[in-house]
């Protein structure tokens, strides 16, 4: 193990490490902790300039319930859900299929198609902006959740194909050969042999894509406009415009907007990290 485990060092070093840990962590998360602290204050604190002292009132419940009752925040959150969940499902369906096709079969354009998906995923998405916005307008789904979902599915398929294909390629080939010898059709091989083995990859991608899409801001402001269809990342800016200079409310709003992916991360941590660090170890 590198560095040397602290258990093997002197007791003083060990204690030093134990003390340093929380200290460094607080320093690391300071900007975030600050926002959480602000989000429980009252407007009164800001008028008297008591920004960091002991709050004159604790307004935890008031502030956070106002986020849900005094603005379109619930609508935005709901929109985010209705954009993120269908995208995740769509991407998983498509990329399981492409991963299977590219990971199992040898055919002429295999490599070309695979590289096309990877390259497409790395494209600076600004180059897609004007044409995709146009396409969405032409299809009559500008400013709808569907418009965002379709684009996200198409774009994320690139990354997910890379992921799925590599995962499937690492599966033991004998399984498939054996099934073929038994006369199992290719479609059944996909459904009954390969798909069950892909569960960990599906879980990893699901949490990862959930976070990516939930946090998307650029496409949200390019393809949607109002509270009808905008996700919470775009909604938070309208929220902040509504409560301009009410920092305690803006902070509470931000915490709410940031929360779902954070919860997702803590619940599915293992899968999340497995997905992110794919390829980090040989």
């Amino acid at each position: 193990m590198f560095p040397t485990p602290v258990e093997k060092l002197s007791p003083a070093a060990r204690t030093g490490y134990q003390v340093a840990l929380p200290f460094v962590m607080v320093l690391w998360l300071l900007p975030l902790i600050a926002v959480m602290m602000i989000s429980v204050r009252s407007a009164n604190d800001f008028t008297i300039g008591n920004y960091w002292g002991w709050p004159t009132e604790w307004n935890l419940i008031e502030n956070y319930s106002l986020v849900f009752t005094g603005s379109s925040m619930p609508q935005y959150l709901l929109n985010s859900v209705f954009i993120t969940v269908p995208t995740v499902i769509g991407v998983l369906v498509l990329s399981c299929m492409t991963g299977f096709a590219l990971g199992i079969y040898k055919f002429r354009f295999n490599m070309v198609i695979f590289f096309m998906f990877i390259a497409g995923n790395f494209v600076p998405f600004q180059i897609l902006m004007v044409p995709v916005r146009d396409l969405t307008l032409d299809m009559g789904i500008y400013d709808t959740k569907l418009g965002l979902v379709l684009f996200h599915i198409a774009f994320q398929t690139g990354f997910c194909t890379l992921f799925m294909r590599n995962f499937i390629k690492a599966l033991p080939r004998e399984l498939i050969e054996a099934a073929r010898v038994e006369g199992v059709s290719e479609l059944r091989i996909f459904w009954y042999v390969v798909l069950p083995l892909m569960r960990p990859a599906i879980a990893a991608l699901a949490v990862l894509i959930f976070t990516f899409i939930w946090n998307d801001y650029f496409w949200a402001i390019v393809l949607t406009q109002g509270a009808e269809s905008q996700p919470v990342t775009a909604g938070i800016t309208s929220f902040n415009a509504q409560y301009r200079a009410a920092y305690h409310l803006m902070s509470a709003g931000s915490v709410v907007a940031a929360l779902p992916p954070v919860l997702m991360f803590f619940l599915m941590q293992k899968h999340f990290i497995a997905g992110l660090t794919l390829g980090a170890v040989k």
Partner: protein, 301 residues
């Protein structure tokens, strides 16, 4: 009846050849429609003058000529270079934190998760959090600076340093990401090699440089690729924290392109497309690098 029978046998004979195309088709249509074709269209559009509504007019290379003399374009380009170079600091910073956290004490898992936290939060919220952190009247940064007799400085209102302030905000989640890559990498480092090196008297910096880092190469590669792409894509933070200001000093190409094409400064789709093409060409260098590396690995397998 007979035709269905012959169909089935045709399928039976050729299913191994047909199945992959069947499985690829939906994704390829989506990808062609939303990714490949728009890239072609952008290249084409960059040769036109178009407000997004009326008739597009072919103007040849005029958009690119205009770019050549556009100060805002150079500011954006320069800022992208700054982003690129400074963003790479996330890699050593992430390695440092990973080394710090790679221990087996009680509760270390929670600490690792908490350190990773910033990456999970949306960039919009990261932007807001740092905007308030920098705020000259109540931001924590200036309070801390005040303790040591400095400040206050309005980071985001000063066109000399605003971009650095935004990049610092961007480094926060990016470092967290590199950290998790390295933590996974450190976990997989061969313990026998470390022991052997220890017996040979290697430790600290030497051990890290000669024994550990070579084994972390895959993690470093991914960290590098993702960080570069992140730097070139930077948009959210600029948009949230300064909206390109003060005086356009924090624009990056991605943001400037959006501003030109879709904001109140006018709907200049062709000019925006030209900026996007330049950004794309820069990125192409990295995409090629990545693809060549992947291609070599594939052939090695």
């Amino acid at each position: 009846m007979t035709s269905s029978k012959s169909n089935r046998s045709y399928w039976k004979r050729n299913q191994i050849a047909i199945t992959p195309w069947l499985f690829l088709l939906p994704a390829m249509i989506m990808f062609a429609l939303y990714v490949v074709w728009p890239i072609v269209q952008s290249f084409n559009l960059s040769l036109y003058r178009w407000d997004g509504l009326g008739e597009a007019r072919y103007i040849g290379m005029q958009n690119y000529e205009e770019l050549w003399y556009d100060d805002a374009f150079y500011t954006s380009l320069w800022n992208n270079v700054l982003w690129l170079v400074l963003y790479l600091l996330a890699i050593p910073a992430g390695l440092l934190i990973a080394i710090f956290l790679n221990q087996n004490v009680r509760g270390i898992r929670i600490y690792k998760s908490l350190f990773f936290f910033p990456f999970v939060i949306s960039q919009v919220v990261v932007g807001l959090v740092f905007t308030w952190f920098y705020d000259p009247s109540f931001g924590l940064l200036n309070i801390v600076l005040g303790w040591v007799g400095l400040g206050p400085i309005a980071v985001l209102a000063n066109n000399e340093i605003a971009t650095y302030g935004i990049i610092a905000a961007g480094l926060w989640p990016q470092t967290a990401y590199c950290m998790i890559l390295y933590l996974t990498g450190l976990n997989a480092v061969d313990p026998e090699q470390i022991e052997a090196a220890r017996l040979d008297g290697a430790k600290g910096g030497k051990m890290l440089w000669y024994v550990i880092l070579p084994q972390l190469r895959p993690a470093t590669f991914i960290a590098f690729v993702v960080t570069v792409i992140g730097a070139l894509r930077s948009f959210d933070l600029v948009s949230i924290m300064t909206d390109g200001g003060p005086f356009g000093s924090t624009r990056v190409l991605a943001f400037y392109m959006f501003e030109v094409a879709l904001s109140e400064y006018g709907f200049r789709m062709g000019y925006g497309a030209a900026i996007a093409v330049v950004l794309f060409l820069i990125m192409l260098i990295y995409i090629s690098y990545f693809l060549i590396k992947m291609y070599r690995d594939e052939r090695g397998v």
